[in-house]
């Protein structure tokens, strides 16, 4: 059957609560039947394609409580803050290139103007562009329900394709990570069919550099497994080691052991496996160069 994307066929109630409390009360009542709308650049498309049919749409785009941007020892990004604002904030900080590059890779200004990091993460897509860099930052997400609040390491957030640990009555309020010490830097690389397309493969790297030695390393990939994944074997190959060209080549050769890509409409298992090593090498070398004090 051809899907008619000209209209939204299913009926739903639309609510735009004016406070976080109001939103949490609505989720408490209607959670299992509801979907949270932030920028809508994923949700509305999924609804058009018939993949989601919520009975209630809760628009959180006006909630000031989800819009904080805080620098300091802990960087806090409101889950409902628009990409454009987050990008400007990250540029002002002058570090956190990996996350900034991931947001830029989303590409089109029409999505950057309304899309949010929280929405990108909550969709649960293994190809979410902002997930790998935030995983390499050891980021945590803060989620609230009407009854409780919890902090979840992003590395433990995803449970399967389009699935996360969030309960239907929970709302993500913000994302946080520790400020980088000097000598730490990051990078992000993406392969997509054309500009602005959904990723075939993404890679994010964080390195801490002490001279020619790598003292801390985080590597994460997107779109190569059911969830965004860390490449722990590769990280171990770098941490505490002196970095030179043969070491990077050796690390890149290990990438295939940490990922489990599949064939799908955007790419093949073989291509992703081969390309992951190349993309990783580029991302690592970029982060390493940036970390030079």
């Amino acid at each position: 059957m051809t899907v008619n994307t000209r209209v939204l066929v299913n009926d739903f109630a639309y609510v735009a609560p004016s406070s976080l409390d109001g939103a949490l009360r609505l989720l408490d009542k209607d959670g299992p039947d509801a979907k949270v709308l932030a920028g809508g650049t994923d949700l509305v498309i999924q609804m058009k394609l018939g993949r989601r049919a919520p009975r209630v749409v809760i628009d959180v785009s006006k909630l000031e409580e989800l819009k904080q941007l805080e620098a300091g020892d802990t960087i806090r990004i409101g889950a409902g803050r628009r990409y454009v604002d987050v990008l400007r904030f990250l540029r002002e900080q002058g570090r956190y290139h990996g996350l900034a590059e991931a947001i830029e890779s989303v590409g089109k200004i029409q999505v950057l103007a309304v899309g949010t990091v929280g929405g990108n993460l909550c969709n649960g897509s293994p190809a979410a562009d902002t997930a790998p860099p935030l995983i390499t930052y050891d980021a945590r997400v803060r989620v609230m329900s009407a009854h409780a609040e919890r902090v979840i390491p992003l590395g433990e957030f995803y449970t399967g394709v389009n699935e996360t640990v969030m309960a239907p009555d929970e709302l993500m309020t913000h994302i946080e990570f520790d400020a980088f010490p000097d000598g730490r830097s990051s990078a992000f690389r993406k392969i997509a069919r054309v500009a602005c397309d959904i990723s075939k493969l993404t890679c994010a790297v964080v390195v801490q550099r002490d001279g020619e030695t790598c003292t801390h390393c985080r590597i994460a990939f997107g779109a190569v497994a059911p969830i965004p994944v860390r490449a722990r074997r590769v990280e171990e190959a770098f941490e505490g080691r002196r970095i030179d060209a043969p070491a990077v080549r050796k690390g890149a050769a290990l990438v295939c052991r940490d990922i489990s890509p599949i064939d799908d409409v955007r790419s093949t298992e073989l291509y992703r496996t081969e390309a992951a090593a190349v993309v990783f090498k580029e991302a690592f070398e970029t982060a390493w160069e940036r970390a030079r004090c």
């Binding site: 994307t5 009926d11 109630a13 089109k108 029409q110």
Partner: protein, 176 residues
């Protein structure tokens, strides 16, 4: 229990207020085209990929085919019909699109022009790279990008002196 119900909304479209009653599942593009008769925004891919449905909401380019009308209640919407003068005069960007033959089938043109205007408001002196970067969410299937880029460059040259003196504001999206 919540039930589906119609919503009364107010949209200021091209400077004019409209009181409308919409269903929650109505899309902004359909309200503009079917209720208000503003057919400039085009229905292209329907899934937020092609940019043909671009309109400005509070000055920001958004994709009207994936925007719920009810979610933009109280906002100012600008469509291609609203960027010229009061007596049908063309905007300089529109004139340069004509001069540079940047229009073939015309389907992508309204979106392209609105996005070009957004760029020139932020950056009066864009480089070719910056122009191409800014329009990359808008697809032209007649392969007319060269003409489109030239038209935007010519329109930038025609910006009034006061505009052209404006310091370059960093684009939302940096050119690579």
């Amino acid at each position: 229990m919540l039930t589906t119900c119609s919503n009364a909304i107010v949209l200021t479209v091209n400077g004019e207020d409209h009181m409308l009653v919409v269903e929650p599942n109505e899309l902004l593009i359909n309200v503009l085209r079917n209720e208000l008769g503003l057919t400039g925004a085009k229905y292209g891919c329907g899934t937020g990929q092609c940019g043909a449905c671009t309109v400005l909401v509070d000055g920001q380019p958004v994709l009207s085919c994936i925007t719920l009308a009810v979610a933009v209640d109280g906002k100012e919407i600008t469509t291609i019909e609203g960027i010229g003068g009061p007596n049908g005069e063309l905007d300089p960007i529109q004139e340069e699109f004509l001069n540079e033959n940047a229009v073939q089938c015309g389907f992508c043109t309204p979106g392209m022009i609105l996005v070009a205007g957004d760029l020139l408001r932020r950056n009066a002196h864009p480089t070719e790279d910056e122009i191409r970067h800014h329009i990359k969410g808008n697809i032209c299937r007649c392969t007319g990008y060269n003409g489109i880029v030239r038209a935007i460059q010519k329109a930038a040259e025609r910006l009034p002196e006061s505009e052209a003196q404006r310091p370059i504001e960093q684009s939302e999206v940096a050119a690579p």
